[in-house]
């Protein structure tokens, strides 16, 4: 890794290339895409949490003028259940979801039928008339109870994730202290402001099925749709437009995608489906709900000897595309930045009669960071040292890098590539004045104000492989086109890729056009998830730009009567290093065709890390929590665009605060969802989110790519639940009191009722 690689445009907070159409109302979001003669699809969904399907009568719906067809499971009997994209254990396969329910419904919101009509209002009217008859079956709501029956043969525990190493029992046998906690995390999801949407068209002349509204992983979804509908790959194309927020949930393959595609093929008409908000909250992936029972074996100094965690992961009614990803990540990454000599985790995957689950920003880590950092606070309390000191005593040292964490996930061994955890903690402590903040809160508490400070540390993962391909073409009009199979979910990847391309090539980043998410433009692509784009697509872009630069100089040299090594490119102009003649790249592009290609294949991830600090104020009367100040220290390895990274961190923290204090998909005993509108699923507004202060460091560039890059997408969310819980504990003067997220006013008031009077 050379510090100079990438030129001066990397590391600058240049304005985004994406903004203008989004600011002027010209965004191409799914709902904005229409085709003449399109049919509108409305999905009929189960109203019961668990039942046998005993009958379905669509005759009244079919009689509504404008209704074209009503589909039931029989119409899609040829479509197999949706497969696994990641962590697809064989034993999970019987729990996959069909696009329409066959003989049972297993959650409120499960697609049972689909109505196709000339107008969305008519489709919705008709859907209400579809009579779905069910015979109720008992619902399972609590994943931590004994497993029940999924069907006649199978139980509701399809698999147990087992990870670990070392002699855990010996560690507990020799421990001076054993600290035990039971902790749970609520049911949250990304809930982007744009709901899901898909528009499928079929071009008979070319025999091409096209799907618009694609996101996140267009190539994987293209391959799956082709396979599921029995079509050749090249006859299915996916097109990503603007995407109104990703966060894990969007762009996974869902039943509605297949329904629209199959219907477009069948009816030979464009089919459009736009989800409404209630549907989104009950039908799109949920995430995070887990209950952990964790024990730590600790020596007299508070050093961890061993960890033993058993947890229950509530995956809802089916195994969707992520299969075991979330519990697998939770188990694999729980040890975090600390030395854990012996480790055992058993993650029980449980199915319940709730909306099926997938990932949500920092999947598995928001959960296990909460668990681990609650545990560190509890160890500090037991040993009677402060919360900073207990972490210092357990951190993996800089000299131990690269550090083999001895667990594996997502098909890779977890080996921390670089990091100076104690160094970051020192810098944060100095920068923030943590001791002063803690003293200030203490002082306020002495006057009866419930103020507290919390902190949490974490290691993130990013840059998931296995590969990315980028092609860059120099056009005669002076623009440079970067084509990637990666995707944009609104995070600013076009700007970041343009900067990396411009840096290596020696051009203005604003002349770079970044094409992404178009399966007809490039044969493969990894997509946008797991904070992978800046690392994987970024390195591929860097390589493609270097390739293109070399080709351009080789082509220019004879024309400029010199050799390539005596030429350089700056500001889009090829010049002799010793001065003299020059030639704009665009002019060269008119003479020769210039395309560079870059492939980056890597099976290991790269690991950024950070510290969160929260300062909160608790209102004893209402049980409300105000986040007064929030700080993140984050080591990014190398920052491409600090403004975009700050945006990622701030947005992640806001979502993390949401999960810590407000958001929860709640269910009644009978499986009826209670969080079905924005009045019930409470997301933070501008009132609830303070300014997020960021100390962005570049102390540990990754040795695994040429620019030293690591990802920024999930470090804001990762430790927010943990830091807020620690701060609330501190504020109410009850160490270890917070064992459950979100910390609702009801829960907090119950805790406060047990408070001794001041």
């Amino acid at each position: 890794m050379s510090k100079d690689a990438g030129g001066t445009v990397i590391g600058r907070s240049v304005p985004r290339l994406e903004d203008r159409p989004l600011l002027t109302g010209q965004g191409r979001f799914a709902a904005n895409i229409s085709f003449p003669g399109q049919l509108h699809m409305r999905v009929v969904r189960s109203a019961v949490a668990h039942g046998k399907l005993t009958g379905l009568d669509a005759s009244a719906a079919l009689n509504v003028p404008g209704v074209h067809a009503v589909w039931t499971a029989a119409d899609v009997a040829h479509i197999p259940p949706i497969g696994f994209r990641l962590t697809g254990l064989t034993e999970l396969e019987p729990y996959r979801q069909y696009v329409l329910a066959r003989d049972r419904v297993r959650y409120v919101g499960e697609p049972v039928a689909a109505v196709f009509a000339s107008d969305p209002y008519i489709a919705e009217d008709a859907a209400d008339l579809v009579d779905v008859r069910t015979e109720d079956l008992p619902s399972i709501i609590d994943a931590a109870e004994q497993p029940g029956f999924y069907d006649d043969e199978r139980r509701t525990e399809p698999a147990i994730i087992r990870k670990g190493y070392g002699d855990v029992d010996a560690a507990f046998a020799q421990a001076q202290h054993i600290v035990e906690l039971e902790l749970s995390i609520g049911r949250h999801s990304g809930v982007p402001i744009e709901t899901r949407g898909v528009i499928a068209t079929y071009d008979e002349e070319r025999d091409v099925l096209a799907m618009y509204g694609a996101a996140k992983v267009p190539h994987w979804n293209r391959d799956s749709i082709a396979m599921m509908l029995g079509r050749k790959l090249e006859t299915v194309q996916l097109f990503e437009g603007h995407v109104g927020g990703g966060f894990g949930i969007r762009g996974e393959l869902y039943p509605e995608d297949l329904l629209a595609c199959a219907a477009a093929l069948k009816f030979r008409k464009p089919v459009k489906w736009i989800e409404d908000r209630r549907e989104h909250l009950i039908a799109a992936n949920h995430s995070r709900q887990q209950r952990h029972k964790i024990r730590a074996a600790v020596d007299d100094h508070g050093r961890i000897l061993g960890l033993d965690d058993t947890f229950f992961h509530d995956n809802g009614a089916y195994m969707r595309t992520h299969a075991a990803t979330v519990p697998d990540l939770a188990a694999a990454m729980l040890p975090g930045p600390y030395i854990v000599p012996a480790y055992r985790a058993h993650g029980h995957i449980r199915l319940t009669n709730k909306t099926p689950c997938g990932t949500y920003r920092a999947p598995g880590r928001y959960e296990s960071t909460f668990v681990r950092e609650r545990l560190m606070d509890a160890i500090a309390q037991r040993i009677q040292v402060d919360r900073l000191e207990i972490r210092r005593r357990n951190l993996i040292a800089k000299e131990q890098m690269p550090y083999d964490a001895r667990t594996a996930t997502l098909g890779t061994d977890i080996i921390y590539d670089s990091g100076d955890y104690a160094g970051l903690l020192r810098r944060v402590d100095r920068h923030y004045g943590l001791a002063r903040a803690i003293a200030r809160a203490e002082q306020r508490r002495s006057t009866g104000v419930l103020a507290g400070v919390g902190l949490a540390m974490f290691v993130e993962k990013s840059g998931l492989g296995p590969s990315d391909l980028v092609r860059i073409t120099l056009h005669a009009d002076g623009t440079t086109e970067v084509v990637t199979g990666s995707a944009s979910v609104g995070q600013g990847m076009e700007t970041a890729m343009a900067q990396i391309c411009a840096g290596a090539l020696g051009i203005d980043y604003a002349t770079v056009r970044v094409i992404h998410g178009q399966t007809d433009r490039i044969e493969r692509g990894g997509g946008a998830y797991a904070s992978r784009v800046t690392v994987m697509t970024g390195e591929a872009t860097h390589r493609a730009a270097c390739d293109l630069r070399a080709k351009a100089l080789a082509a220019a040299a004879p024309l400029m009567q010199t050799t390539p090594d005596r030429l350089t490119i700056a500001g889009g102009v090829i010049t002799r290093v010793n001065g003299g003649a020059s030639m704009p790249l665009a002019e060269l592009a008119r003479i020769v065709s210039l395309t560079g290609e870059g492939i980056f294949e890597y099976k290991h991830m790269v690991y950024p890390y950070g510290v969160h600090i929260a300062e909160v104020l608790v209102d004893a009367e209402s049980g409300g929590v105000t986040v007064e100040r929030y700080f993140v220290g984050y080591d990014i390895g190398r920052a491409v665009n600090p403004m975009l990274i700050e945006g990622q961190i701030a947005g992640g923290v806001a979502q993390g605060i949401g999960g810590a204090l407000y958001e929860d998909f709640r269910y009644a005993e009978n499986g009826e969802p209670l969080s079905v509108s924005f009045a019930d699923y409470l997301m933070p507004t501008a009132h609830e989110i303070p300014r997020i202060e960021l100390l962005l460091t570049e102390d540990a560039p990754s040795p695994l790519n040429s620019l030293g890059l690591k990802g920024a997408g999930e470090g804001g969310a990762n430790a927010a639940g943990a830091a807020i819980a620690s701060a609330v504990d501190d504020a109410i003067g009850l160490p270890g009191a917070i064992t459950e997220l979100p910390i609702t006013p009801q829960r907090l008031k119950a805790l406060l009722r047990g408070l001794p009077p001041h």
Partner: protein, 160 residues
């Protein structure tokens, strides 16, 4: 379903003569019948504010109003903010302060902020926070939106 009624929506100084069922929401009419898709739909129950437009100068959740209620009224949407190629100060400020990521909630925030500042150019920071907390954004964590709106407010007030 009931009979369609003829109405006229004046959007960004242009009359759109359309026929809609009485139950059709204003946002659906703006998007589907008038082809102005810059106004987005986020929840259809009046909470997220993505569909905020100005009706006779007032910020309105266009998912909570029927199109027939806006008959003959003056409507402004995000498409009418820029003057040709020249962005409105609010649009420029959102760009300068990284006040948007995915951009889906942005038209609603822009119209909300412009509507309020045109009515109340000297609004206090506290009141402005109240106003901005009426719309939801899931990407930014809001602070850059607040910064952008404050910067645009100063720009819109002009030199004193």
């Amino acid at each position: 379903m009931s009979k369609k009624q003829p109405i006229t929506l004046n959007i960004n100084n242009r009359d759109h003569k359309i026929e809609v069922e009485p139950r059709k929401t204003l946002v659906d009419a703006i998007r589907d019948d008038c082809g102005q898709t810059g106004t987005h739909i986020g929840c259809e129950h009046g909470i997220c504010g993505a569909c905020t437009v100005l009706v006779d100068g007032e910020p309105v959740r266009s998912c909570l109003m029927f199109a027939v209620q806006a008959d003959g009224k003056t409507i402004r949407t995000v498409e009418g903010l820029a003057n040709g190629d020249e962005l409105h100060p609010m649009q420029k400020a959102f760009m300068d302060h990284h006040g948007l990521q995915c951009g889906f909630c942005t038209p609603g925030f822009l119209m909300l902020a412009v509507g309020v500042l045109e009515r109340e150019p000297d609004i206090s920071d506290e009141d402005l926070l109240d106003v901005l907390s009426s719309n939801l954004c899931r990407c930014t964590g809001y602070q850059n939106i607040i910064k952008a709106v404050r910067a645009a407010a100063a720009e819109m007030r002009g030199p004193r």
